[in-house]
């Protein structure tokens, strides 16, 4: 159920839900042999399940509604075949219920609408393809007793299509972040395939077992799901911890007073936005995030008074930093990115350096931007001007453009 602390904002929401469901029920009459009660129970289950979610690799949360929807064509059958009308009605009512519950829970309206629409299209395709495979199998001679296997094939095809539709809609039908790279968003959504796969498979498992074994289905689908759930949960938790530790370590030079407070954090925040804008893959963005956090770790070396006295260059900072990061065996490519952060993208009289990693160029520009705004007291527009002026050699013009777009999205410079 929704969070009990949130008061119901508008009595209109349940009224709309009731009217919508009544309209569906009216349309349904005569189309199906299933009782309204049965369809209603599945619809309520679907709506309730949408409130329970688990974390996925992309940072999105995926709800159990995937599992319930996947089970619908298995549990709503008449005469051995999918009752498309009943399954469709249950999905529609369930999605309406999802919309109602989540609105009452004060989830952002845009997000709720987008989720309901995505799910609506996805489930519709799933149900139609599932029934389609079944009817094709009816028209060709298949051996007796293989209905289950036909359903398995139907499920596999339909579920793949559903996943494709969900991820594409998530990446392309977006509100508010329409200037981020589509490639990045789509790849991010696809990273969740393991979680989606396990949710859909749980639904199918439950559906098969429910028809044959009744309530034992809960145990048979529940235990494998519990195992997978624990695995996802643990993985996400340690991913978060890993990120937190890297962030904490990156602040040691700042605490020691050897680099400006908050610089690495702000640089990495801006770098992520620029990387996403430029169409990096999610894994590349993670490396970028870590290397931006770590780009000044080499400054801890300045703790040694004799070194401070001798003087140092940006190249020294980059090298020392890379040496420290390289001690962590799993961060070797982050070390490479850190070691190149000071390099200009082009030298006088030469072509641009194609070997230089994008991440290093992004760190150079975003770090300079933060330095200009926070240390030199420039306004965002003036700082951007600094980057533009340096675009001949120091800062890659593509990166500078992406920084400008990121600042526009943040609303600190006019579009």
């Amino acid at each position: 159920m929704g969070d009990p602390r949130v008061p119901i904002k508008s009595p209109l929401v349940p009224v709309i839900w009731a009217l919508g469901s009544a309209a569906l029920a009216y349309l349904l009459m005569g189309q199906t042999q299933k009782s309204l009660l049965e369809i209603g129970v599945w619809a309520i289950l679907l709506a309730e399940a949408s409130l329970v979610s688990l974390p996925a690799s992309s940072g999105n949360r995926l709800s159990l509604a995937f599992a319930v929807s996947a089970a619908l064509p298995f549990v709503l059958t008449s005469g051995g075949a999918v009752d498309l009308a009943a399954a469709g009605a249950a999905s529609a009512m369930g999605l309406l219920g999802t919309w109602m519950f989540r609105t009452l829970r004060s989830d952002p309206a845009e997000e709720v609408m987008a989720a309901v629409l995505r799910h609506g299209f996805g489930v519709a395709a799933y149900l139609v393809v599932f029934a389609g495979v079944e009817s094709i199998a009816d028209s060709i001679p298949v051996p007796d007793g293989s209905t289950d296997w036909v359903h398995l094939v139907g499920f596999a095809v339909a579920a793949s299509l559903w996943f494709l539709i969900e991820t594409s809609l998530w990446a392309f039908m977006v509100f508010g972040r329409n200037r981020l790279s589509r490639r990045y968003l789509w790849l991010l959504a696809v990273k969740d395939w393991t979680v989606v796969l396990s949710l859909l498979t749980t639904g199918a498992l439950f559906g098969f077992a429910w028809a044959e074994l009744g309530f034992w289905a809960i145990v048979i689908a529940g235990i494998p799901y519990g195992f997978a759930h624990l695995a996802f949960y643990r993985y996400q938790e340690s991913r978060r911890t890993y990120g937190q530790t890297i962030r904490a370590l990156s602040r040691i030079p700042e605490v020691a007073g050897l680099s400006p407070k908050g610089h690495s954090d702000r640089t990495s925040g801006m770098a992520i936005e620029v990387g996403q804008d430029l169409g990096m893959t999610p894994d590349e963005v993670t490396d970028l995030q870590y290397s931006a956090l770590m780009h000044d770790i080499g400054r801890i070396t300045l703790n040694e008074p004799s070194i401070l006295k001798m003087g140092f260059t940006d190249e020294d900072i980059a090298r020392w930093g890379a040496e420290i990061v390289a001690e962590a065996p799993y961060l070797s490519h982050v070390a490479t990115l850190v070691s190149q952060q000071h390099q200009p993208y082009r030298r006088p009289g030469e072509e641009r350096d194609l070997e230089l990693p994008m991440a290093s160029k992004i760190i150079k520009a975003t770090s300079a931007y933060d330095h200009a705004t926070m240390e030199l007291g420039f306004s965002p527009l003036e700082a951007l001007e600094v980057l533009h002026r340096g675009a001949a050699y120091d800062f890659d013009p593509d990166v500078v453009q992406a920084v400008r777009r990121a600042l526009e999205r943040r609303g600190v410079v006019p579009a």
Partner: protein, 445 residues
């Protein structure tokens, strides 16, 4: 060394003979299950057997027993024991063993797995026959209950074989890491129950099998990445501390050694799992605060002034606060920051210390490990002292500054490993200081 090799051969011969006998008897009494079905299960069994994953705090788990029992129920009485024993025989030989030319492990495993699988499934068959003559929920309960019993037997046989082999081959080795039978049995019981249930489902609804496989493989892969990430996390922290510490000649390797001593004492005092891990992590971060302190302050030979001491404390505390923002590290930071507080409640303590209260056992261990390493390694102001001197000094302060139990645990652990730390003879603080001042200190870390 020669004796160990002979005992290895004896164990391998005995185990493979037992395994071979069980296999031969089963081949004579039973028929082989349908080959396609057997291959499907054998693949799954081998997959899980060759790579176990970390489920929680170094607890390794591999769902092989579940696969074995699902297969047993699916094969049915009259074929199950032979089918599963053959799977186990196959699972014992992994590509890694051949690549590394290990012969003892796979041969001993062969005997162990075949006997465990053959005997436990043979017991299960008795339950299966009962199940087949009943209907409804009784059918399910017979199968699932029987599988739970069989899994327990499987676990016990495995455990016995491992214990016997370890005791015979590595006579001196500590058996404690294998002695967590109490922790393992419930998971065997559960996996057996689930395995039986899935097998029973297969007999009425074969289509669920691929779906269940998909679920377990997806979960399994996630657990594998989780284990890798945990390893990366620790390696990252370790690497950073090592790199930052290496800047200073005198503290180089200090953290690594303190972590090692803490681990030794923790194991000696019977810590396991999460607790041991927390101790190791606390040791790893116990000196992180110093990294933010200017070197000349740390290296200063004379007494620190009030202001300098203040500065040192402030730096150290800020770093501790930053690390405490990482939820996972918070309990470790508390231990680490109270490692200067005394056993009797005195000392200056840290965030996790209230004056007059006894510090946690973990903090006591860390305090002893830290002091021991400080005395047995060379510092800017004095040479390393001998191990005997360090222990007599620790014992002199036992009960007031240090926990006597911890000191003795460290003593016993080092006796057992026969490792020696510190200089071989230096037994006086004054002499060590004089030596350090008399000539420039050379250290090779």
């Amino acid at each position: 060394m020669h004796g160990a090799k002979r005992r290895k051969i004896q164990i391998a011969a005995l185990y493979s003979l037992l395994g071979g006998t069980v296999l031969a008897v089963l081949m004579w009494r039973q028929t082989f299950p349908p080959l396609a079905l057997w291959l499907a299960f054998a693949t799954a069994f081998a997959f899980f057997d060759w790579r176990s994953v970390e489920v929680n705090d170094r607890m390794l788990m591999s769902p092989t027993v579940m696969v074995a029992l699902t297969a047993a129920v699916a094969f049915g009485p009259g074929t199950a024991a032979l089918g599963v024993a053959a799977m186990a025989a196959l699972g014992a030989f992994s590509a890694d063993d051949f690549r590394q030319r290990r012969w003892f492990q796979p041969i001993a495993n062969f005997g162990q797995l075949v006997v465990a699988a053959g005997v436990s499934v043979f017991i299960l068959e008795w339950f299966l026959e009962r199940a087949l003559s009943s209907t409804g929920d009784t059918f399910w309960l017979w199968i699932a209950g029987g599988s739970a019993v069989a899994a327990t037997v499987y676990g016990l046989i495995n455990y016995t074989f491992v214990t016997v082999a370890v005791r015979a081959v590595f006579e001196k080795r500590d058996l404690r890491p294998w002695s967590n039978l109490g922790q393992l049995l419930p998971s065997y019981l559960l996996m057996g129950f689930v395995g039986g249930l899935l097998g029973a489902t297969y007999t009425v609804l074969p289509v669920v099998l691929p779906l269940v496989f998909v679920m377990f493989i997806v979960g399994y892969l996630s657990f594998a990445s989780y284990g890798q990430l945990r390893e990366a996390h620790e390696a990252t922290l370790r690497g950073f501390i090592k790199a930052l510490e290496a800047k200073d000649l005198y503290t180089r390797g200090h953290t690594e050694r303190v972590a090692y001593f803490s681990q030794l004492v923790g194991e000696e005092m019977g810590f396991t799992g999460t607790r041991l891990e927390r101790l190791r992590w606390a040791a790893l971060i116990h000196d992180v605060g110093k990294l933010a302190v200017p070197r000349d302050l740390i290296r200063k030979k004379g007494r620190l002034t009030e202001d300098e001491y203040e500065e040192l404390q402030v730096h150290a505390h800020v770093v501790e606060e930053i690390l405490a923002e990482v939820e996972f590290l918070r309990p470790m930071v508390e231990i680490a920051s109270s490692h200067h507080s005394h056993f009797d409640g005195g000392g200056y303590g840290g965030v996790g210390h209230t004056h007059g209260a006894k510090p946690s056992p973990e903090a006591c261990i860390l305090a002893v490990a830290d002091a021991f390493d400080a005395m047995t390694s060379t510092r800017s102001y004095r040479m390393a002292l001998s191990q005997d001197y360090a222990f007599s000094e620790l014992r002199r302060n036992a009960g007031s500054q240090f926990d006597p139990e911890v000191i003795e645990a460290l003593y016993r652990a080092l006796e057992r490993t026969t490792e020696r730390y510190g200089s071989p003879h230096l037994a006086s603080e004054d002499e060590a200081r004089r030596l350090a001042e008399g000539r420039p200190v050379t250290s090779h870390g």
